[in-house]
Assembly symmetry: C2
């Protein structure tokens, strides 16, 4: 991964500061790793203070040297949390009344420490502001996403040639992950918000590919234990069972998301038909995903197509269905836009999302597809393949 140019960070900062000004904030404290990395180039343990105008103050708690090497901005060492007010004052950042914080993800314990440190300050959420800004990817980000997508395609090509009935889900997962790792997969994913014990992917065959779990997903697989209730199990993939492989591709800094469902000999006709409908939905939604369209409109289009095929009750889950058909990806796996029911987000060129129309048939399995797309003036262009 080439380091981004300074101008990229200048642009990001400028846009963020415009938002702070529009919200009448004096500045913002940023701590979430992906937000911090987006604004500075480092994900080390830092507190970043962004004033509404002027240079940001990046305080590195650990590791200072690493943060200094990576950051686009000057870095100051932070010995202790309680030094923050003094360092702000030294930098001339005084009289702060209203500050932004990532209230969507901050733990209560950290919030209370900030409150005690800067008494009298009024706190406002800037999590939404940063998620909104990060929706639209720059050319450099798109290049990184294409690179990640190409690596992931290579892994899917590899696994497609290797799988055969008789392998366990776990064996298939191990093959996939091992090859991906050799290509530089991080072996982890970044997810904004709660740690959920999620692994980067799912392998699930037959009825397991219709199993739901605690996650806000249409399906999750069986898993190896109730404490890790998703993904591959020891189940043997039998001929006649659908096989679902759904992995986040995390190469370099950027994440793409992709699913392939293999429907071999003897797979129920219901699944084959649903698969065709899913492919049509993906292709139609991608065609319509142009600047100016809302995310909610795309969701409605997909649901209408599923209903027309008589498959509405299987779409995006069965019973408790999820109410989205896609989600943004980038530095995190769960970015904006979410292509969800009623979502008013207006698409713009450069937005990147995974589109995953899936049908779930309890006791039988699932059908569908997932690819990652970028919005262009001529509709969404597929990055994964």
């Amino acid at each position: 991964m080439a380091k981004l140019e300074y101008i990229e960070y200048k642009n990001r900062l400028r846009r963020f500061q415009e938002s702070l000004q529009a919200l009448d904030l004096d500045g913002a404290l940023v701590y979430q790793a992906a937000d911090l990395y987006y604004l500075t180039g480092t994900a080390q343990s830092c507190h970043l203070f962004v004033p509404a105008a002027g240079e940001p103050l990046l305080l590195a708690y650990r590791d200072f040297e690493r943060a200094r090497e990576e950051s686009a901005w000057q870095v100051r060492p932070l010995g202790s949390f309680k030094d923050i007010p003094g360092l702000l004052a030294e930098a001339g950042l005084t009289g702060l009344r209203r500050l932004g914080l990532e209230l969507d993800v901050i733990p209560l314990s950290l919030f209370r420490r900030y409150e005690a440190l800067l008494p009298g300050v009024q706190w406002a959420d800037i999590g939404q502001v940063l998620r909104r800004q990060r929706m639209v990817k720059s050319p450099a980000e798109l290049e990184a996403l294409r690179w990640s997508a190409a690596k992931h395609a290579e892994v899917f090509r590899y696994i497609t040639a290797r799988i055969r009935p008789g392998m366990t889900e776990l064996e298939i997962a191990a093959e996939f992950e091992s090859y991906a790792r050799r290509l530089g997969h991080q072996g982890a994913k970044r997810f904004r918000g709660q740690e959920q014990g999620m692994i980067p992917g799912l392998v699930a065959a037959g009825a397991n590919s219709a199993r739901t779990s605690c996650f806000n997903l249409p399906l999750a697989g069986l898993g190896l234990s109730p404490l890790y209730p998703m993904g591959a199990s020891q189940h043997v993939w039998e001929e006649g069972e659908p096989l679902l492989i759904d992995y986040a591709g995390v190469y370099g800094d950027y994440t793409v998301d992709q699913t392939r469902i293999y429907l071999g000999k003897g797979v129920p006709e219901d699944l084959r038909q649903a698969q065709e409908v899913a492919m049509e939905i993906a292709s139609r939604v991608a065609e319509e995903a142009r600047p100016g369209v809302t995310a909610g409109d795309l969701y409605d289009l997909a649901v209408a197509m599923a209903a027309r095929a008589g498959l509405q009750e299987h779409f995006m889950g069965y019973g408790r269905q999820v109410t989205y058909i896609g989600h943004g990806v980038g530095l995190d796996l769960n970015e904006w836009p979410v292509i969800a029911r009623g979502d008013k987000t207006v698409l713009a060129a450069g937005m990147v999302f995974a589109l995953e129309p899936k049908f779930v048939f309890p006791g039988m399995g699932s059908a569908g597809v997932e690819d990652t797309y970028v919005v262009t003036d001529r509709g969404a262009e597929k990055l994964t393949y």
Copy 2:
């Protein structure tokens, strides 16, 4: 993994309720996955209300069927967050004044929703209570830990036979992880608190094995990108370089932690000597780790031994040293007790911790060892091997 017996959950509940009573709490809401799993047998998305006495109320939001199958207690479906007060009232749980919550890890946003839902309630931390209770493992838990340790030993045996200079750190990591995964490794780890983008393990050769990062670890490796600043890189392991392999072993529900540092031909004598000191520290500390000793005493013993060998400034990091030599493991990777400077925790039989005396030589590499132990009346017994 065999399902635990009902009596195990009854005992856990009873001990937890004794703590609630001692804190003069009317009950507690539990949401963190490992705490929930510990008390109920399910890690599905639930809200668990534990009254100070009597049956717990387990409300399953998603997935209800899965939670019902797994839980030791009766489960009620929860349609919406706002139904919680009504369901509490139905169960006769009214007049609640003081309730416990995992204030150490709860996100601010969830805390505010609870506050709005149950106005007038006074909230107290029960994160510490649960961490303290979970320190001491039952015979069934110890059996699960031994099983996990045996699997992990098999992976270390495998990798020890495969590694050779000329492999990249990433190749070694891929080999290790792939074999571990085949044996049932979850491919993830559970860490109480913030998602930190941590992968389950580190492979680092030469100077990389002395590199620090944002984590509260003596060393972290280089990694593949600044957004995932730990673990294996594309660096080739050369003869004469130390090679560190440090992985959490997560098989079934339980996590063990283990490190091996390979010092082959041509490795600097400083590292060899430090390795010997580390082995002596591990063995002495384990011998002394008996019921009644405090964690802080063990830490002091280790530091004194490092100092006597003239290696104090390399112990547990160089420059910004960490102030622990071990940490509890179990359902999470970062449990209690922490064998840390000044820690007053009194050891008891059945406590399980990873002990990891390590020496760091910037620019050169690291030496040391890590194993997982259980405290017994005759000192700590090694589980990993």
